[in-house]
């Protein structure tokens, strides 16, 4: 917990519940939709009218809390579900009713018998619970007992048979690694970062959902899409800034920039942010190389050899790529894809240093843009052709 103040147990409970919900959504099938009625009450629907699982979440800061047969957690939950059964909102036994709690079920209690293990005995549990409902003097729970007893015996047995109790469930901290493990599509080194962004989004969403008393469902698809979206930001050819949502005009105004190397990049339709970075590399390499030559007179013949080598390596890669790509189909998007591949190779794989001790990557990248500016290399395979046509027509 990295909040600046200590959250009360209540807040911890909320956090746990929101996180647990996220965990369950990621565990369940994608097509299921969930509704978060209140934080301790999550429903999964196959479609709008078919809830297939109802969840009640109970969180306790006290690790030694135990779940007895007359605990209010249990009975409040039973009341909710009994009511829903009465109102035909759920059809048993098609719906799974789950109570998740951090408390431990006491041995030989009904709750103990309802855990999803081989010593589960729902009949015995029903007997025990009925006994509590009949004998307990706990006034707080009167309503709960009433609504349970209002069901027919068959309904009671059916209800208890559909309940599974998951006790001693992972604590607030422990659930996080479990969620991270679910992020299978994400590279291990990015998992923490992706999880953090996901959680931020999820908390904001849950809070909004509750505040607006929203009747919208949250689908597993939506959550997984979000994960993909966040994950995309960590792919090397994407930009890790989510400022699309911010209505800020792109700067600098690249559309006005008609320098040759910039046009080459526009031609292969890469994102503006990458073009900005390319311009930065161009500036830095231009400045650095010019300064070397002006003050140190360094790299006299080396820079010529270096430029030749850059052109050679680029040529070699381009030819190899041409052999792989299907040819003969005159498709602009194929061309752009080809150009982007060459450009990606330059930005991410090529590592050609002018001298062993000069390893700053911008020297090479910027030098490529300098060559692109002189038309000695190109990305888009038809760039030179089109340019000459353009010059002929003007």
């Amino acid at each position: 917990m990295s909040t600046g103040f200590s959250a009360g147990p209540q807040a911890l409970g909320y956090m746990f519940q929101a996180r647990y919900a996220l965990y369950l959504i990621l565990t369940n099938k994608e097509e299921l939709q969930s509704a978060v009625e209140s934080l301790d009450d999550i429903t999964f629907f196959e479609n709008e009218n078919n809830p297939i699982e109802l969840l009640q979440l109970k969180h306790h800061t006290n690790a030694k809390a135990s779940l007895t047969d007359n605990s209010s957690d249990l009975w409040k939950t039973i009341r909710v579900w009994s009511t829903q059964l009465q109102e035909n909102k759920i059809s048993l036994p098609d719906t799974l009713l789950t109570l998740v709690t951090t408390a431990k079920a006491s041995a030989n209690s009904a709750t103990f018998l309802l855990r999803p293990f081989k010593d589960r005995d729902s009949k015995l549990a029903w007997e025990k619970l009925l006994e509590v409902a009949n004998k307990s003097k706990n006034e707080d729970l009167t309503k709960s007992f009433k609504s349970f007893k209002a069901l027919s015996t068959t309904q009671q047995q059916l209800l208890i048979d559909s309940i599974q109790i998951i006790d001693g469930s992972s604590d607030i901290i422990d659930i996080t690694p479990a969620i991270k493990e679910k992020l299978v599509a994400v590279r291990r080194k990015h998992r923490d970062a992706v999880y953090e962004r996901l959680e931020g989004w999820w908390f904001a969403k849950v809070v909004k959902h509750l505040r607006d008393d929203s009747l919208d469902f949250i689908s597993g698809f939506e959550v997984r899409d979000k994960i993909c979206e966040i994950n995309d930001q960590f792919k090397p050819d994407a930009l890790p800034i989510d400022f699309y949502d911010l209505k800020i005009p792109e700067q600098p105004d690249i559309s006005q920039d008609n320098r040759c190397f910039v046009n080459q990049l526009k031609e292969i339709a890469i994102h503006n942010k990458r073009i900005e970075n390319a311009i930065l590399d161009y500036y830095r390499a231009f400045e650095q190389r010019s300064r070397w030559a002006r003050e140190e007179l360094l790299f006299g013949g080396e820079i010529e050899k270096y430029e030749r080598k850059l052109i050679d390596e680029w040529e070699r890669y381009k030819l190899a790529l041409q052999d792989e790509m299907s040819d003969g189909n005159d498709d602009e998007s194929e061309y752009q894809k080809f150009g982007r591949k060459v450009f990606n190779w330059m930005e991410q794989d090529a590592n050609i240093c002018i001298r062993d001790q000069v390893t700053e990557p911008y020297v090479m990248r910027g030098s490529y843009h300098i060559l692109a500016d002189k038309l000695l290399v190109h990305w888009h395979p038809k760039f030179l052709e089109r340019l000459t046509q353009l010059l002929v027509t003007t």
Binding site: A293, G300, I303, K374
Partner: protein, 166 residues
Amino acid sequence: MQSWEQRPFEYANLLNPAFCSILLRNAIKSYHTQKKQGMPYPLLFLVLPLVLHGSTRNALPKTTVTKLHIWLQRQPEARVGFGDRTSSLVPYTKEALAFGMQTGIVNICDDGNFTYVNAKLKRILAVSWSKDTEPYSCCKKAEFVGRWLAQAGEVSTIYTMWGICP
């Protein structure tokens, strides 16, 4: 030398033959004024590395009272890398000389030494080289180097002072 269009941009622009030939002409002119004879071909190759290398240019003495040999004994670090710089600038010096002859600002005498031709260039006011610009100080230092080399002794001795071969 690659053609003008094929050259790396910084070498094309910073060591363009027009600029280099002006520096050589300045050195030749002040050499001639000092010694009343043309400047020997081998000495021309020392002008650009002395004038264009930033830290060497800044370390040059203010007046020719400090002789080259004395200066070198005091500043042995000036010799570090000088040979490499000189040999990498040879093609630029040759090109600038050819350019200077083609445009008629320098000339070769019968004894093989180089001399300058008067009134072939416009006044320096034609360009925006104010006193605090680099090209201006390069021009001034080139004049200085011409005078300096004129008082430094035999060509072969000057070369051995630097520890390089003609």
